[in-house]
């Protein structure tokens, strides 16, 4: 049977057929670029992480992540990220609250916000150096503590090249990042809520416990989660500070990249993928909480 083309349907169908690809052509460069330099390189690691050295499919690499070296890298990374996220989160919130709602003059707020933009971007090699010059063995705070106050922190076992030292350094960009991302939430606390609660006889504690904190909670949690991811993905600062002698996931990946310290390329890929998985969970949790927090910021 011969099908005769529908006189009315054919031209419009042909036009529709031609129009769709033309419209999509506009975003092709973007997707080609992202595919070439982001998706393919990441996929390479994904595929490699599921292969053994002979090229066969395996999940052994992921099981091998529980070996002491890699497991220790994850726990150290997570510990440092957690500590600096929580501490940086609390201190950053207090500083932001003091500046925004604490009755300080407006120029101070502007100044602190601008400085936070700078400090949250000031990281890597110069930051590590600045702290070595300050609380390193011959740093000026170390020397002042020793000569003026008689406190010998290095004699007491402290060293800047340790976990604690790294945490102090990380706080330098964690705290201002918190100030930046929590500021809109603090702005969202309406004066009327406070006044209303006071008129209803609530104490300051009750105001915080029943109004301010519940409203702020999604923002606080979300911000701290973002801080966690920020510290978890950091490599330059830790590398510059310790010369690669602290066992973080990022440092271990770096070691693997420059010298196959794991002795197994595919285990290195799995190590990197574990990191991506943790970052993905972090970002998902953040965006979920950010959407919840938005409710109060209209």
């Amino acid at each position: 049977m011969v099908t005769t083309p529908d006189a009315r349907g054919a031209p419009s169908a042909r036009r529709g057929h031609r129009r769709v690809p033309w419209t999509f052509l506009g975003v092709v460069p973007f997707f080609v670029f992202a595919t070439m330099f982001l998706v393919i390189p990441t996929s390479y690691l994904v595929v490699g992480s599921f292969r053994d050295q002979a090229g066969n499919f395996t999940v052994q690499n992921y099981l091998d992540l529980s070996r002491p070296l890699t497991a220790n890298a994850y726990t150290t990374s997570i510990e440092i990220s957690l500590v600096t996220a929580i501490l940086g989160g609390i201190l950053g919130f207090l500083l932001a609250y003091a500046v925004i709602a604490g009755g300080l003059p407006m120029p101070i707020r502007t100044g602190i916000m601008t400085f936070s933009g700078v400090a949250s971007n000031f990281a890597g090699v110069p930051l590590a150096l600045a702290f070595i010059f300050t609380i390193g063995r011959t740093g000026f705070v170390t020397v002042i503590l020793k000569t003026v106050l008689g406190v010998d922190v290095y004699g007491a076992g402290f060293t800047i090249y340790s976990k604690l030292g790294l945490e102090i350094v990380y706080l330098y960009f964690q705290l201002p990042l918190m100030v930046l991302i929590i500021a809109p939430a603090i702005d969202g606390l309406k004066k009327e809520w406070r006044e209303a609660s006071e008129n209803a006889g609530a104490s300051t504690f009750q105001y915080w416990r029943f109004i301010a904190l519940p409203v702020l909670m999604p923002s606080l949690m979300g911000s701290m989660i973002l801080l966690f991811g920020n510290a978890f993905g950091a490599q330059a600062t830790a590398f510059a500070l310790t010369g690669g002698f602290i066992n973080l996931v990022t440092i271990l990946i770096g070691g693997q990249l420059s010298g196959d310290v794991l002795g197994n390329q595919n285990l290195g890929y799995a190590l990197a993928m574990g990191m991506v998985a943790i970052m993905a969970v972090t970002i998902l949790a953040y965006s979920w909480l950010a959407r919840r927090a938005e409710r109060w910021q209209r």
């Binding site: 330099f37 490699g48 604490g102 971007n121 990281a123 300050t134 930046l180 990022t250 693997q256 109060w296």
Partner: protein, 291 residues
């Protein structure tokens, strides 16, 4: 959705109204204590943030003769060549980023709004793939055929720029998209077309000039990130400013302190430009990401 307490409005009004003679606001005393605590906290914060900078400055002045760390830095040709290289890479990164993202964001808003979540998702991916993982993947992919880019200096430069474009995707796309939101691209495009303009003319002579301010803030943030970036530059073995600083911190005593302070000054300068450009639209936050 007003997002207020779940009570009838008149009741809320009654709650916020202060009955005469019973002032419940914090008295001058309470207010003072709060302000005092704020000042104390501010000072502590300033101390923590100033100390490392002061420490670095003091260290740089310990050199003998006193200013030699600074004069050494000024006379070190490699400081300037690496800085120039970093700025050049930064400018190329910003240019590629604009050429790639402005048409994309424009087209998505104009013709493919359904694709927006997809494009936004892709621009947020760099948050999930940290720089160290990105460079790991890039080196693995581009050190072998069909595109062995890491084999030559030029290839590595290309790879470096592409990595930085990826790194800047979240900030640049957000900046461009926010700029597009404030102009009526539908009307502008139709007006241009009725005057006979092609797509290139529309983008170059109408859309881009309208986006100048919003692009500028994204561009300077990208510049600050690129000039300070270490991880990717280090593994691609590019002579960037941050890798040079790392290199001399191992074998020079005082000069690195001066260079570190200059690096801080550059970040400060870039952020200062953003603050100047962004005056008037408060609430915009610029968050960087190469630590």
């Amino acid at each position: 959705m007003t997002g207020s307490i779940n009570r009838p409005p008149q009741m809320l009004e009654a709650l916020t109204h202060h009955p005469p003679g019973r002032p419940r606001r914090p008295g001058p005393r309470g207010l003072q204590r709060k302000t005092l605590a704020s000042w104390l906290f501010l000072l502590l914060g300033i101390a923590y943030f100033a100390l490392p900078l002061v420490g670095t400055l003091i260290f740089s002045l310990r050199a003998k003769p006193m200013l030699s760390a600074w004069t050494d830095m000024i006379n070190d040709p490699q400081v300037w060549s690496t800085l120039g290289y970093s700025f050049a890479i930064g400018v190329v990164t910003i240019t590629v980023s604009i050429v790639l993202l402005v048409p994309t964001a424009f087209w998505v808003r104009l013709r493919l709004p359904r694709l927006r979540p997809v494009v936004e998702f892709v621009t947020l991916l760099p948050f999930v793939v940290p720089p160290i993982v990105l460079v790991f993947g890039l080196i693995t992919t581009f050190s072998q055929p069909p595109l062995p880019l890491t084999g030559t200096n030029f290839g590595s430069d290309v790879l470096l720029v592409c990595a930085y474009v990826i790194l800047s995707l979240p900030y640049m796309y957000r900046a461009v998209d926010a700029g597009l939101r404030t102009i009526d691209i539908q009307t502008l495009t139709e007006a241009c077309q009725s005057l006979g303009a092609g797509w290139a003319t529309i983008l170059w002579r109408v859309i881009l000039p309208n986006l100048r301010v919003s692009i500028l803030s994204g561009a300077f943030l990208t510049l600050a990130i690129v000039v300070g970036e270490f991880t990717i530059a280090n593994f691609l073995a590019r002579p960037m400013f941050a890798t040079y600083l790392q290199q001399i911190s191992g074998n020079l005593a005082y000069q690195p302190a001066a260079v570190a302070l200059m690096s801080f000054g550059i970040t400060w300068g870039a952020m200062g430009v953003i603050a100047l450009v962004g005056r008037g639209n408060q609430g915009r936050i610029e968050i960087g990401g190469a630590h």
